[in-house]
């Protein structure tokens, strides 16, 4: 299948453009800073909280969630950066001409690129989540609950953004595409908070608006679910925090998001098949 060859080339391209190495280096830097901050936080909280284990766990988890929140944000940014000109760049430069005239279908080019980008994004998020979990365990003997599910949901969050960006890159230039995708993400981010505040103050209109926007752009909803799963039960009861979630989108929303990704990918294939190169 030529799809795998295109995926391999997409990954290879990112490696050659030093995206992978820069991502890994900055990821290590992030983990270093996080480890330092987590160490000092845990030292101070342990000293002041003393025997109040709940408070210590709460603080350990809260700071871990803060780190995971940053990982999710970095994942979203990486998703945009790696995909924003993946097709439009090759169309504008003409590189696509020698590829699209080989014996392969256009859908294989789009799906191949998507798979290559997905592999890169997944590696980045898994690397950071694994590193972060190792740090919290080494310092506080704490592992955020449901970290595997949370990581998968964070990958799904980045995948939504990356797939939308891939769709945009079939027609839009890099800058315009980047602006559109980031604006959409910003909208979903605001909608997530609107939904959460609406739930707290029992404002059904705010909740509905939040839900509708989440359906249009479900990336932030996946983070909300990830954050909800990765915080201990008593924190969920406590309500919302800047980095966690007081309520979680349902499993149905996860299924919806998976379908959403497939539909957006299909739309990208359709647009790319129809456009002149």
């Amino acid at each position: 299948m030529k799809v795998w060859l295109i995926a391999e080339m997409t990954f290879h391209e990112a490696r050659q453009r030093r995206l992978v190495w820069i991502g890994a280096l900055l990821g290590l830097l992030f983990l270093g800073v996080f480890a330092l901050g987590y160490h000092y936080m845990y030292q101070d909280v342990s000293r002041y909280a003393g025997a109040f284990t709940t408070q210590v766990i709460s603080a350990a988890n809260g700071f871990a969630l803060m780190g995971l929140y940053a990982v999710n944000f970095l994942g979203v940014m990486l998703a945009v950066i790696i995909s924003v000109d993946t097709l439009s760049g090759e169309i504008a430069s003409g590189t696509i001409h020698t590829i699209a005239t080989k014996p392969l279908r256009r859908w294989e080019i789009v799906v191949g690129k998507w798979l290559g980008l997905l592999a890169m994004l997944s590696l980045f998020i898994v690397f950071l989540c694994a590193g972060l979990t190792l740090i919290t365990w080494l310092i506080a003997r704490h592992i955020p609950p449901n970290i595997m599910q949370g990581t998968a949901l964070m990958i799904l969050c980045g995948t939504v953004v990356m797939t939308l960006s891939l769709l945009g890159s079939t027609y839009l230039a890099a800058l315009a595409n980047g602006v559109v995708v980031l604006m959409l993400y910003g909208l979903a981010f605001a909608a997530g908070w609107m939904e959460e505040f609406g739930a707290i103050f029992q404002n059904t209109s705010a909740v509905r608006v939040g839900i509708v926007i989440s359906l249009l752009m479900p990336a932030e909803a996946m983070w909300k679910r990830a954050a909800y799963l990765m915080q201990p039960g008593f924190l969920r009861e406590f309500g919302m925090s800047p980095f966690g979630a007081g309520s979680a989108p349902s499993s149905a929303m996860v299924v919806y998001t998976l379908l959403y990704v497939l539909v957006i990918l299909a739309a990208a294939v359709r647009l790319f098949q129809r456009r002149d190169l």
Partner: protein, 302 residues
């Protein structure tokens, strides 16, 4: 079956007609030159024939199949006008990637890639990144990728762009080799000299319309130009040449360029000149330069 066939092929961009109802057939094993001024619709036509651009109307067939059909594309090679590449790849990796896109087995790739690098004069550059290649070298590696699959049809869009005179000659030789091997070559070029030297037939496109197709002789309208070099060419003798055609140019009293309808007239002209006192040194039939024909046809169509 035609190697390339366009049936009422049309492309519109809004109100602009890039290609207007183009009908064209190219035989298998033929070297076909496609000429036109900038913006005439040459590249759009090539892109439609390759499935890169969707026609607004009409149909294109390459090797009897729709453009873009992987079965046909497996037997087609293409060098785009503005050949771009992945600059981080080495020459060998670049060819390997494209060979894999053709589905070529590893063993064949190992044999074919050095062979092609040698053929385009890039032996020894296998491990060099394309980013370090000159424009001419990039054109050569582009040619190599167009020939990877032993194609039956090759589309070359300005293949000598960026090449030095030696490189241009090598491309002409390569085109001849391809013709000898029975490969159909569709050549887009501004270099009329190379089209003239390499092509069996020529098509001229102007503002999206194919205005003439034929061999160079057919394009010349069946006329032949003869250069006469002689002494004692009197004005009466020069005027007398008019019975066999038209005196196109006279340089002094010793050189005349005559346009005549048929080759059979040449011995008769020679005998008549000698009988009438001219000292004939040379009577040389010469093909009309394609550049003259091109300008005449394009301007005539305006």
């Amino acid at each position: 079956m035609w190697a390339i066939e366009a049936i009422s092929l049309r492309k519109e961009y809004g109100r602009t007609v890039a290609v207007a109802d183009l009908n064209l057939q190219v035989c298998q094993g033929e070297v076909f030159g496609f000429l036109g001024a900038n913006g005439a619709g040459k590249t759009t036509t090539v892109k439609m024939l390759l499935g890169l651009v969707r026609p607004s109307a009409g149909q294109a067939l390459v090797l009897g199949r729709r453009p873009g059909d992987p079965t046909a594309m497996a037997h087609i090679g293409f060098l785009p006008e503005h050949f771009r590449f992945h600059p981080w790849l080495t020459a060998a990796d670049f060819l390997d990637y494209h060979a894999r896109l053709y589905g070529m087995p590893a063993e064949e790739r190992r044999r074919r890639i050095p062979e092609l690098l040698e053929r385009v004069g890039l032996a020894g550059w296998e491990r060099t990144r394309l980013a370090k290649f000159s424009k001419g070298m990039l054109q050569r590696i582009g040619l190599a990728q167009a020939l990877l699959n032993h194609p039956q049809v090759v589309f070359l869009d300005e293949p000598t762009s960026g090449l030095d005179p030696l490189g241009r000659r090598e491309v002409r030789d390569l085109i001849r080799e391809l013709r000898d091997a029975g490969v159909t070559v569709f050549l887009n070029s501004h270099m009329l000299g190379e089209v003239e030297a390499a092509c069996d037939r020529v098509g001229i496109i102007r503002q999206g319309e194919l205005i003439r197709v034929g061999t160079l002789e057919e394009l010349a309208g069946g006329t032949l130009q003869v250069e006469i070099r002689a002494r004692a060419l009197t004005p009466e003798l020069i005027a007398g040449l008019a019975r066999w055609g038209r005196v196109v140019r006279q340089e002094g009293s010793e050189r005349v360029l005559l346009e005549t309808a048929e080759e059979e007239a040449l011995p008769v002209i020679a005998a008549w000149l000698v009988e009438n006192g001219a000292r004939l040194y040379a009577l040389t039939p010469c093909r009309r330069p394609l550049e003259d024909l091109f300008v005449q046809i394009v301007e005539g169509a305006q």
